[in-house]
């Protein structure tokens, strides 16, 4: 569904991604794991069109994403739940969700998507008139996910959804990701929380200082000696 080939992204002279290739199969949960600074957020933002690569290619169902602008990529059905939520903080919960359903294709299903979001996160419904800035961290993460669900996307990319959240909330967010997969959505999950994300993934890539150092099914990756030592602490 999504193919990334020999991607190289630089910030000035510093190469944040070098020679990164990966592919995401429709209907799967694919994890990108790695430490802070490995280039995970750079990868996700390059796919979304917020950053431009120096070289390489990104295709989504044979469409070359590098020829498109960020808002056109979103309209293809590629959603991102960004790191740090990036909510529209001075707009209400309801307005944030409505903005998720902004593109033409998403607008058609707005009512249905809204129902789905309120069913996934009932708390958002009870807070629908509150400004996004007044929500707790967990609720803000729910809203960020809800806004992306409103886009009615085919591919949903999560950037560190567990960051800074209590373990119980993290668990419920991972459950939501599984439920989204069950509706047919394809998921790309970027996480530092290696153990938990491998548990729910079909396939995983390990990113280190801008390169893919290892990839395979969740079993292959989690039984790899290096992985066990460096990331899982076993």
């Amino acid at each position: 569904m999504l193919n990334v080939n020999n991607l190289r992204v630089q910030y000035g002279a510093f190469a944040a991604l070098q020679d990164v290739s990966l592919s995401i199969t429709e209907g799967q949960i694919v994890s990108i794991v790695g430490a802070n600074g490995a280039g995970k957020t750079t990868l996700i933002n390059t796919i979304s069109g917020l950053l431009r690569p120096v070289s390489g290619e990104i295709t989504f169902e044979d469409k070359n994403l590098l020829h498109l602008e960020g808002h056109e990529i979103a309209a293809l059905g590629i959603a991102q739940v960004p790191e740090g939520r990036k909510l529209f903080t001075d707009m209400t919960v309801y307005e944030n969700l409505i903005m998720g359903g902004y593109s033409k294709h998403a607008k058609l299903n707005r009512e249905k998507s809204l129902e789905m979001v309120y069913e996934l996160f009932p708390i958002l419904k009870s807070r629908d008139k509150q400004l996004a800035r007044t929500l707790s961290g967990g609720e803000q993460q729910m809203l960020a996910i809800g806004r992306a669900v409103m886009m009615n996307p085919r591919l949903m990319m999560f950037d560190e959804p567990s960051l800074g959240l209590a373990p119980m909330i993290v668990q419920s967010i991972f459950n939501v990701i599984l439920r989204l997969k069950a509706t047919g959505m394809t998921i790309m999950l970027v996480e530092q929380n290696v153990r938990q994300s491998l548990q729910i993934s079909d396939y995983a890539y390990v990113l280190e200082t801008g390169r893919v150092v290892l990839h395979g099914t969740d079993q292959v990756v989690s039984s790899n000696d290096y992985m066990r030592k460096a990331y899982l602490g076993i």
């Binding site: 979304s48 808002h71 707009m91 903005m99 902004y102 593109s103």
Partner: protein, 292 residues
């Protein structure tokens, strides 16, 4: 000068009515700032252009002044987006100093073009509304100013409604709050800039048509209104819509009461005194920061 109750009442009534126009003029500037963080120092000159359009339609074309809104608002929308595309968009990511240079330069060019082509004459349109007055006790209410106040309130309300309740208005607000997030949900941020600039300019078209029955036009008329708009926008809190409206009324009252208390050009001291006071003590404006 003897101070009397009537004089004060007159100053208050005039101040509120003029304040409404100040508010409408300032709301456009505030919208543009709120969305793209650019202060358009040519805002007053855009108003000047609109006032000339309204003046010529009324004085030479025999139009009803209020009907000219049908021309001035769309014309200013168009002029706004053309000027934005050609001059401001290429420097939208430049440092603020470059943007200030550009819009200040733009204001000088527009003023001097007007001087060359329209001459320095002060033009006043004589309309049926110009001498329509009401009396409230000892206070004169000028009909044209009352209509301008009501029209400004209506125009500001429509602009507010667009921003709050329509998808495109919400997209403008979303882009102003978080560019990246707006892009991620499929909003074309550049076209929201264009639209915001167009709407901010169109509100000047409306203001010009409302003012033409009681206010003169000249190549430098924009200087005064441009300055007033910056004061109002800063007082209301940059980018704060409601704050801007209230600040418009406050500055209208200040100007008018100042003019009745202080001799001649000293009147303006009050307005700019408030401006400096706010910049020193509450740079975020009297109504807090951004509230949208």
């Amino acid at each position: 000068m003897v101070f009397s109750f009537e004089l004060f009442g007159q100053a208050v009534v005039t101040g509120i009515l003029i304040g409404g126009i100040f508010a409408l003029i300032s709301v456009g500037l505030s919208l543009i700032w709120g969305v793209m963080r650019i202060i358009n120092f040519a805002h007053g000159e855009f108003l000047m252009i609109a006032m000339y359009i309204a003046y010529f339609l009324v004085a030479k074309g025999g139009w009803d002044p209020y009907l000219t809104i049908l021309i001035t608002a769309p014309a200013l929308f168009l002029i706004g987006i053309i000027i934005f595309q050609v001059t401001i968009r290429p420097i939208i990511k430049d440092p603020p100093i470059n943007q200030i240079m550009l819009t200040v330069g733009l204001s000088l060019i527009l003023q001097n073009l007007a001087l060359v082509f329209l001459k320095a004459d002060v033009l006043t349109a004589n309309t049926a509304y110009t001498r329509m007055n009401f009396y409230l006790g000892g206070v004169v209410v000028r009909g044209s100013q009352l209509i301008a106040f009501v029209g400004s309130a209506l125009a500001a309300f429509i602009l507010y409604w667009i921003l709050q309740k329509t998808d495109i208005g919400r997209a403008i607000r979303a882009a102003s709050q978080n560019r990246d997030a707006a892009t991620l949900v499929g909003i074309n941020v550049r076209s929201t800039y264009l639209l915001a600039f167009g709407l901010g300019s169109a509100s000047l078209g409306v203001a010009a048509s409302l003012m033409i029955p009681f206010y003169y036009t000249s190549p430098t008329v924009g200087l005064f209104f441009g300055l007033i708009a910056y004061v109002v926008v800063v007082l209301g809190g940059l980018g704060n819509f409601i704050g801007t409206l209230v600040a418009g009324l406050i500055i209208g009252l200040t100007e008018s009461i100042g003019a009745s208390l202080l001799p001649g050009s000293l009147a303006r001291v009050l307005t700019f005194g408030i401006f400096i006071f706010v910049l020193l003590l509450r740079p975020q404006g009297i109504f807090g920061g951004k509230q949208k």
